[in-house]
């Protein structure tokens, strides 16, 4: 009986070591809003045309999202496809705004977009996902901090805000989709804040009253 238990324990340990050993691989995470998130955010009354500039990456360590630290040593690296986090987050915000009824498009710096009501730009001050494996679980943490500036083309007024989000989760069996899911959930909820705290008046974006 003891031999059987030892065998099972050895088997589990070996599997854990094999599956958790870091390979230094890059793990791409798809950044996209979770559009099905519950909530009754209303559409703007008039169709607002928003041009979203690719976000500036203002992080001290540009590129990449973070690391997965394996149980028995070694790390893998989370990244976004293409490696341009600013572009990926701008795309995600655009998809999110579209899902809320806004007419949004991503524009590259220096590109033109005629008929735009609001020029939206932003700076990634923080965007990170980390996963640390321990015995029996992996803790995933994600943080985001995005400075947003919306310029109303009609009158030149500006709406600025800093959206901050953080999330953590603990899973028994780590899958990159877990990290992807929590990152997207955090981003979606921060985007919710942008919509919740602003309103559209005559195709101008304004802050809501406190």
């Amino acid at each position: 009986m003891i031999r059987r238990i030892m065998l099972v324990v050895c088997g589990i340990s070996l599997f854990t070591v094999v599956s958790c050993a870091g390979t230094g691989e890059r793990i791409p995470l798809q950044v996209q809003p979770m559009i099905e998130t519950p909530g009754t955010l209303s559409k703007p009354t008039s169709a607002l045309r928003v041009a979203v500039n690719i976000f500036e990456d203002g992080r001290t360590t540009k590129g990449g999202l973070g690391t997965r630290t394996h149980l028995w040593g070694g790390v893998s690296y989370f990244d976004v496809p293409g490696g341009n986090s600013g572009e990926v987050v701008a795309q995600a915000l655009t998809s999110y705004l579209k899902s809320k009824g806004w007419q949004a498009d991503v524009v590259k710096p220096g590109a033109t977009s005629s008929g735009t009501d609001v020029m939206l730009s932003g700076t990634l001050q923080d965007l990170a996902v980390d996963a640390k494996s321990g015995v029996g679980s992996t803790k995933i943490t994600t943080t985001s901090k995005i400075g947003i500036q919306a310029r109303n083309v009609a009158d030149g007024s500006l709406v600025r805000m800093t959206l901050r989000g953080s999330g953590s989760d603990r899973v028994f069996w780590f899958d990159p989709e877990d990290a992807q899911e929590i990152l997207n959930e955090v981003l979606t909820q921060t985007f919710d804040k942008l919509i919740q705290d602003t309103m559209v008046e005559n195709k101008l974006l304004r802050l809501k009253s406190p």
Binding site: N53, E56, D155, K193
Partner: protein, 200 residues
Amino acid sequence: MNTPATTRITLMVLSVLVLSVLTACAERRITTSVEDQTFVPGSSPQAAAPAITPSARAPREQPKVEVPPPTAPVEAARIIEPPISPPSRGELGVLADMYFDYDQFLIRPDDRAALEANAKLLKMDGAHRLLIEGHCDERGTSAYNLVLGERRARATAQYLQNLGIPSSQIQITSYGKERPFCVEHSEACWQSNRRAHFRP
């Protein structure tokens, strides 16, 4: 054959496994917040007026970054200076900002492509005059940063002139550290404030 000792060991192993699973499934926390909401009125009277006057919104629309420091009358005169030309619709609304290293006013090599794209847009729309605003991070005195911001704006203007934009089309001003894009006390935030901003 099961002895009391083997049964105990089996139970212990199983307990550890169950505990691990339960621990792992315990939590998911997400928090979000909004900070530093500011509204900067535009220059068009028709649209800007309702944004400034409603008393209900007044507390939120008086960002401290817009208030000049009371102790520096010379700076105040410059800070409250409105944009020389109102922002226009269309292409020139998307000119990319230039960013600078700490205490520097040299155009970075990685910003040159964006500046050249800006120059191309300006050439296409030669009738427009452009105001270049120089901005700085919060470190250093207001007076020092006003000068540094001016040098940043001037360096950007000079680069555009070298690319064929007539000097008559460009004006410069400096807001020093008084109109930050971001008000956090972090390097990332300071970096986003060290910039030359284009106001068509």
